[in-house]
């Protein structure tokens, strides 16, 4: 039977060329494997949201913890049942602000210099050097903060003012870490601005600085803003520098010369020892992780939206 139908089929085919697509199982299998690879990243995101959400929920269901209390009190001491989130958030913001005070102006200035001022030969030397800065592991920056920046700050401001662990040192070094990130993204945005705009400005008699600051930079503003937001997101999530140099122990303070633990620093210290499952410490790092995840996700989405919505499109 089967043979007969096959024969029929072949004969039929020979009589009229069949242009319909034949099913190719190999191709289909490969395509579904590739689709699975592409879809895998969705699982990662879902995994993050599910696992962090689940354990964070357990954390907030614990009798010692209440959301209202953790948003309104300023003491984070797990062993006494105090879970005020502000000391951790406050020091995270402090290191971030200090880092951005360094990274934003320097990063944009470096980008303007490389894209508008530097000769190609100089640019080809300087750019790889800055890329090296971006490729150094963050733990090395942590070492740098503790053994170079902190002694330097203590030398300048006095040993009784600056503690061995402080947020200023961590923030400053974090600024150096984020500088190349902002400068390379800004430079990309600046070099996307068409030549004709610059030439028109020069034609009107503008100086180089006027072209750079009043024509090119505004034209690339969306790209620069995106770079800054990505930089902030990176600073908030940065871990090893603060874990090494910013101090151990949550501390609600506005002085940059005093040790204070950030969200990431706290997670690292708590999980450094052997953490037993389902303890309050274990669940608390998931709650903090979830907070961190949503902050950085929001910043990244804002940055992408800024680029899409406010980009000046030139022909």
């Amino acid at each position: 039977m089967a043979e007969l139908s096959l024969k029929n089929h072949v004969e039929k085919k020979a009589s009229a060329i069949n242009l319909r697509r034949k099913p190719r199982w190999g191709e289909t299998i490969i395509q579904s494997l590739l689709f699975f690879s592409g879809f895998f990243s969705i699982f990662v995101t879902l995994g993050i949201v599910y696992e962090l959400g689940k354990e964070a929920l357990l954390f907030f269901q614990m009798p010692e913890v209440s959301i209202l209390e953790s948003l309104t009190t300023t003491k984070w001491q797990p062993h006494t049942g105090n879970f005020g989130i502000w000391p951790l958030v406050n020091s995270t913001l402090m290191t971030t602000v200090i880092a951005m005070l360094i990274a934003i102006p320097l990063g944009i200035a470096v980008a303007v210099y490389l894209s508008e001022y530097a000769k190609p030969r100089v640019r080809n030397i300087l750019k790889p050097i800055l890329e090296v800065l971006a490729g150094i592991p963050t733990i090395v920056y942590g070492y740098f903060a503790l053994t170079f920046m902190t002694p330097l700050l203590r030398e300048i401001f006095g040993k009784d003012v600056v503690q061995i662990y402080n947020t200023a040192s961590a923030g400053l070094v974090m600024g150096i870490l984020i500088l190349p990130l902002i400068s390379s993204m800004t430079e990309d945005a600046l070099s996307a601005v068409p030549r004709s705009l610059r030439e028109a400005a020069y034609g009107m008699g503008a100086t180089k600085m006027e072209v750079a600051l009043q024509v090119v930079l505004p034209a690339a503003l969306s790209g620069v803003a995106a770079a800054v937001i990505v930089g902030i997101s990176r600073a908030i999530g940065e871990t090893m520098i603060v874990a090494v140099a910013a101090g151990a122990g949550p501390n609600f303070t506005f002085s940059p010369f005093v040790g204070a633990e950030t969200i990431t620093g706290h997670i690292v210290r708590i999980s450094g020892g052997d953490l037993s499952y389902d303890s309050i410490d274990y669940n608390s790092i998931f709650a903090l992780g979830l907070l961190l995840f949503f902050i950085t996700l929001a910043l990244n989405i804002i940055s992408q939206t800024v680029v899409r919505r406010f980009r000046e499109v030139y022909e």
Partner: protein, 413 residues
């Protein structure tokens, strides 16, 4: 402003504007120089820490251990073993013998043990390279006065022994072999997970995916994942690989470990965690490489009747391969330097034996640096500096190989 310019004439204003332009030019240049100075300071600071004088005191004077006038440095292995047997308690000796029998140990290893267990040199003080070069006389005077028993020596903390020796708690005999091997084992599983899935995803998105909502979500999601802080991946790895998949990641399902002592904090968990971390980076880099393959190549292949996969496999991928490999190497060097996720996943710090299977406990180079940096004693800072140099050399050679691959293959195209 504008009116004033017209009234006063064009030329009056030009000087002021030029001066302003000059000032900004200098400012921009200075910012760039600040960046470079930061890099130089970082490097010098590490080198400064990795070399210098160290003063140490021996718990037992090595001269008293000499037999018939031969100092322990020249004694044979048998003499050293009997010395250990005579000095150490029976329990301690048996533990050592059980860890690795003395018959199997080389003379060098036994000598190491004698130094570690009997002579026990203790660091009194260390000086960094700058101090050692500029105040050598003062250092010698201080040591002679404060620690007459101590021996002063100029050491390079980074040396061949440092790379070869396993980790110990004694600063003078500590090494990074355990950590280097741990890093390599971890990276192996990172690549095994992230490379196939990453390249597969990139092929799907560039060659197969049509522009619909699902594929747009996948693309946006990958871009967002690339911006998630690394420590979040550590927490994810702790929940999924270490805890939920513990039977698998501890080797329990393969019958290698006793279920009661099974622990998911293994090389495998760490590697997979880092694999998730670098996956978006590999996908984005591979996408760029695939996108750079000219359309005409695909059309020519379709023109002679090749199927989609035949086209991708024999034309697109070979052309894009150098780009994909370069991107992967860069992602791997990111993974090698990662510390935070591994601390959360639970790298052990006090292990002195080499990892030898996917289910071994492990420590990695950055973790070792973190541990040494966080210790208050100066000698551990010096060890950290030496370990940083090892890490940087490792990363540098990886990046150099990426550049080599790019140059070599792009010439052929």
């Amino acid at each position: 402003m504008k009116e004033k310019m017209v009234v006063q004439g064009f030329a009056d204003n030009v000087d002021a504007r030029n001066r302003k332009a000059m000032i900004w030019h200098v400012l921009f240049q200075a910012s760039t120089i600040v960046g470079i100075i930061a890099l130089i300071a970082l490097m010098l600071n590490i080198i400064n820490g990795a070399f210098g004088y160290v003063a140490y005191e021996a718990r037992v004077d090595p001269d008293t251990l000499a037999v018939d006038g031969t100092s322990i440095e020249d004694q044979s292995k048998e003499q050293l073993v009997s010395l250990l047997q005579a000095t150490l308690s029976r329990g301690a000796y048996n533990t050592l013998d059980k860890a690795k029998s003395f018959a199997d140990r080389s003379r060098e290893e036994v000598y190491q043990l004698v130094v570690e267990r009997i002579v026990k040199p203790q660091v009194v003080q260390v000086w960094n390279l700058w101090q050692s070069l500029t105040q050598a006389d003062a250092i010698r005077a201080t040591v002679a006065q404060d620690h007459p028993e101590a021996e002063l020596e100029f050491v390079s903390w980074l040396n061949a022994d440092f790379v070869r020796r396993p980790q110990t708690s004694e600063s003078l005999t500590a090494g990074v072999r355990t950590a280097i091997l741990g890093s390599l084992w971890t990276i192996l599983f990172t690549i095994l997970l992230a490379f196939p899935i990453g390249v597969g995803a990139a092929i799907y998105l560039e060659e197969y995916a049509s522009d619909n909502w699902l594929n747009r979500i996948i693309q946006t999601n990958i871009n967002n994942l690339a911006g998630v802080p690394s420590i979040i991946y550590g927490i994810l790895g702790l929940a999924i690989f270490v805890r939920t998949l513990e039977p698998l990641t501890s080797g329990e399902v393969f019958g290698l470990v006793d279920p009661s002592t099974a622990n998911g904090r293994t090389v495998l968990s760490a590697g997979l965690t880092l694999g998730l971390l670098v996956l978006p980076i590999i996908i984005i880099n591979a996408q760029e490489a695939i996108r750079a393959v000219p359309r005409s190549l695909r059309n020519a292949s379709f023109g002679v009747g090749a199927t989609k996969w035949q086209t991708v496999w024999s034309h697109v991928l070979p052309t894009a391969l150098p780009g994909i490999l370069t991107g992967t190497i860069l992602a791997v060097s990111r993974a090698i330097g990662e510390t935070a996720p591994l601390v959360v996943v639970g790298a052990s710090t006090a292990i002195s034996f080499d990892p030898n299977s996917p289910f071994s406990k492990f420590t990695t180079l950055p973790i070792q640096i973190y541990q040494w940096t966080s210790r208050p004693q100066d000698e551990f800072r010096s060890l950290a500096a030496a370990a940083i140099l090892v890490l940087l050399v490792l990363l540098l050679s990886l990046n150099a190989s990426a550049i080599l691959i790019r140059n070599r293959f792009s010439r052929r195209m």
